[in-house]
């Protein structure tokens, strides 16, 4: 066996700690090492061409790259090896930068000793590597979009344009999601992409119309997902009512719920004139068909004073969620301005803790609200009380620490966003991870092209989003899916678990422990039953290999013998 070793100096950043000549001399003495090349900048253009030339000249059986973490430039060297006509799995990275030179910069002896050990470990492992073929997975050019809000609809339209058959599933009876309930959007106010207001003077809601008239999109309202099996490019999904669909990709755009103010009893949400911002939207909607006047729920009187309470259920206030819900400041500003412009004599007050108005145009919007006469009080509300003569707000001024009290005809609680109630259920169905707040864990956008699940999450299901970013998200995820699934087939890395049929005792433990359930029971005939890993669905965790009672499963590139060989020389 011929092993070719490259050692990278990383433009001096490794050399200043490690003696590369000594490392090279040591490496040359290891059995099977054909040649050792030191380069000062192996991942650079010149370094890479030297790398390829050397590989083509020496024609080694295995290659070692000692330098930075394989997580950084692993792919570059895999591609370079392929260019040089070698199977990329026949290489091993020895991490002498992050996990040696940099971590032990103050311990030169230790670092240099460790570098040699790491080299030995890498060589021990690379000897046992096998060339692996890429796995060819056929993709079904169909998509399931869960959630018919702005983000889901945008994704559906984009997927349809990309040539996909789209199933758009919405659990409510109509498309539109949260935005459908909003009377206006702020600060643009106009009928933008998401105008879906059921107002009599404007029946058409552009995005919904576009979705409904798209022949590639099948809209399934009052429908939810019951079951999902399969893997990237090949999902079988059962919907309520028993219908089964085959799709290649799934986009989850289930949005958020709003915080239930009953969880903060001090805010007296049960009082008729203490309402949430969404209920204020309802009042605005109602006004359109009811003479244009905003009337408070208790007695139908037009409120002379209206108070907005910010951060209800957000930023950890009164035991609410720890994060900022992003949209509440702007919608409260919008509502306050709208109310003030309709009723200039009304007392309109916003009780805030920190007013957040990022993005261009939003700060100006806030300043205009001040000019219009909207009052701002930096106060944390202790309680809202219904007394005999009306509703009172009791708060503490954050700046002066003084208590204050205000009587209010109408109190609006600016409720925040939290994960939709079916988030965990969907996460279980599609093997997705949740973050600490219960939203779907956001995937790194830079790595989304390498995703091997075919399942994407768009919009506020990832965490609070405003409309604009939810729509953008729908587009981003649809594009990612089109790029990944649209090519009819993809080639996945060959790192998969394999079952040795001679050793297998058919206990099906692998099937139980597989996070993706992609171990299949294959019945040849009445006698012959086999367990097989569906290659396209295997994501190479190796849990089955560790759990297999008969030790009959091996995960390529991380086989027992390879790890044991590393352990043996690590001592």
């Amino acid at each position: 066996m011929k092993i070719l070793v490259f050692i990278c100096g990383c433009q001096g950043k490794i050399e200043e700690v490690l003696d590369l000549d000594a490392l090279s001399a040591f490496t040359s003495t290891i059995e099977d090492v054909e040649a050792v090349k030191i380069d000062r900048y192996l991942c650079g253009k010149e370094g890479l061409s030297l790398f390829k030339e050397e590989v083509m000249r020496v024609k080694p059986d295995r290659v070692i790259i000692a330098g930075c973490s394989p997580r950084l430039h692993g792919e570059i060297f895999a591609e370079a090896l392929e260019d040089a006509g070698m199977n990329p799995h026949l290489r091993e990275h020895v991490n002498i930068r992050e996990q040696c030179a940099w971590a032990h910069f103050d311990d030169l002896d230790g670092a240099n000793r460790k570098a040699k050990k790491l080299m030995e470990m890498g060589i021990a492992k690379v000897r046992l590597k096998r060339p692996l073929d890429k796995i060819n997975v056929e993709m079904k050019p169909a998509a399931l979009v869960i959630g018919g809000g702005v983000s889901g609809m945008e994704a559906a339209l984009d997927l349809s344009n990309g040539g996909f058959k789209v199933y758009l599933v919405e659990r409510e009876a109509e498309l539109g999601g949260r935005v459908k309930r909003l009377s206006q959007t702020f600060p643009t106010v106009g009928c933008g992409i998401c105008c879906m207001h059921d107002c009599p003077d404007c029946v058409l809601t552009p995005q919904v119309e576009e979705v409904l008239s798209d022949e590639n999109i099948e809209v399934l309202t009052s429908t939810t997902v019951e079951k999902a099996d399969g893997f990237i490019g090949n999902y079988k999904v059962r919907l309520t009512g028993g219908r089964e669909i085959d799709v290649g990709t799934v986009i989850i755009a289930t949005g958020t719920e709003t915080f239930d103010p009953n969880r903060i009893p001090e805010y007296s949400y049960s009082s008729a004139d203490v309402i949430t911002s969404l209920e204020l939207e309802d009042l605005y909607m109602k006004a359109r068909s009811d003479g244009g006047q905003i009337k408070r729920p208790s007695d139908g009187k037009i409120p002379e004073s209206i108070n907005f309470i910010q951060c209800v259920g957000s930023r950890g206030i009164k035991g609410g969620n720890p994060y900022c819900s992003i949209v509440c400041c702007i919608y409260a500003l919008g509502h306050a301005r709208e109310f003030k412009s309709r009723y200039p004599d009304a007392e309109v007050t916003i009780h805030y803790i920190d007013l957040r108005s990022p993005y261009r145009g939003f700060e100006e919007y806030y300043n205009e609200a001040r000019d219009m006469g909207v009052n701002f009080v930096r106060g944390e509300i202790d309680k809202i009380e219904e007394r005999e003569d009306g509703v009172y707000i009791v708060g503490t001024n954050r700046d002066t620490k003084e208590r204050y009290e205000m009587k209010s005809d109408l109190v609006v609680l600016s409720v925040g966003q939290e994960p939709a109630d079916n988030t965990r259920e969907l996460a279980n169905l599609f093997n997705l991870e949740l973050d600490q707040d219960g939203f779907f864990l956001e995937k790194n956008l830079r790595l989304i092209g390498e995703d091997t699940s075919g399942v994407y999450v768009a919009g506020a299901a990832n965490g609070p989003r405003n409309i604009r970013y939810s729509v953008a998200d729908g587009r981003v995820m649809a594009e990612a899916a089109i790029e990944r699934i649209g090519a009819e087939r993809i080639l996945l890395e060959g790192v998969v678990a394999r079952i040795d049929q001679d050793l297998c005792i058919k206990c099906a433990t692998c099937l139980e422990v597989c996070p993706y359930g992609i171990v299949e029971i294959v019945r040849e005939d009445a006698e012959e039953v086999r367990l097989e890993v569906l290659e396209g669905g295997c994501r190479a965790c190796g849990i089955c290999a560790a759990e297999c009672p008969a030790s009959a499963i091996q995960l390529e590139d991380f086989r027992d013998d390879q790890i044991l060989a590393e352990v043996e020389v690590a001592i």
């Binding site: 230790g110 965790c541 560790a546």
Partner: protein
């Protein structure tokens, strides 16, 4: 001191990288072995390291709920916890193995826990021959089907069938303890040829009654056979071909 750290590809390996990027020092004795998921770490691999003389093995993975492979880290935790409780009764210091959650952004935590682990291993000293011998026996137990079957069924039992986790843990520990005892019986028989339950009890230091029941179970599984009464006691020997 020889310290082995298994790191998963998604959280703790990049966490270890970050420790380097931030120039946070940790002991240079630490040897990292990369796996895709902490759930890949078969106990057999951990035990193999110990029997070869590694002084401490740490398995690291993503925080609970954040595993890239949904529940791989929980499987790893279940295994390491089992191993520690087995060690407690087998003469191996259970502090030689531990599990830690390190996210990709916790370079500082990686440096901290490896430093702390090194310090702990320094305190308990290098692995001794008694511990290596015990690790050897437990290694063989975890390479054999029975212990692996009971361990492999944990997830189905606890997560899917709703079996009380504490009760199942008891079953697991009992099974492994029994298998350890049987392995020790086999070793004695291999050394000496034929022995009675009382003679085995003396050599192994476990009650004769328990040894006798295990001898019967092993006989039933045709691992050993009884060769009749010799010197007033029933003697057992290893079945040929075992």
């Amino acid at each position: 001191m020889k310290i082995l750290v298994f790191c998963c590809d998604w959280c703790s390996y990049p966490g270890a990288d970050l420790a380097g990027i931030l120039r946070l020092e940790y002991p240079s004795e630490v040897r990292i072995i990369k796996v895709m998921c902490s759930g890949r770490v078969d106990l057999m691999l951990v035990l193999d390291a110990l029997r070869q003389g590694i002084d401490g093995v740490m398995v690291t993975g993503c925080h609970p709920g954040e595993c890239h492979y949904v529940h791989g880290n929980m499987e790893a935790e279940r295994r390491i916890e089992l191993l520690r409780s087995i060690f407690e009764r087998s003469g191996i210091n259970p502090r030689r193995v531990r599990i830690e959650w390190i996210s990709a952004s916790e370079g500082e935590k990686f440096a901290e826990v490896t430093r702390a682990f090194k310090q702990e291993i320094d305190e308990i000293g290098p692995i001794n021959q008694g511990e290596i011998d015990a690790a050897e026996i437990i290694h063989d137990v975890f390479s054999s089907e029975r212990a692996r079957l009971v361990l492999g069924a944990s997830r189905r039992a606890i997560e899917l069938e709703g079996v009380d986790p504490l009760w199942y843990k008891g079953v697991l520990e009992r099974t492994v303890r029994e298998e350890v005892l049987r392995e020790r019986i086999l070793r004695e028989l291999r050394k000496t040829g034929a022995l009675s339950a009382h003679e085995l009890a003396e050599r192994i230091g476990e009650p004769a009654k328990e040894i006798f029941w295990n001898l019967i179970a092993m006989k039933r599984r045709q691992i050993i056979l009884d060769i009749g009464i010799v010197d007033d006691s029933l003697k057992f020997a290893i079945q040929e071909g075992v």
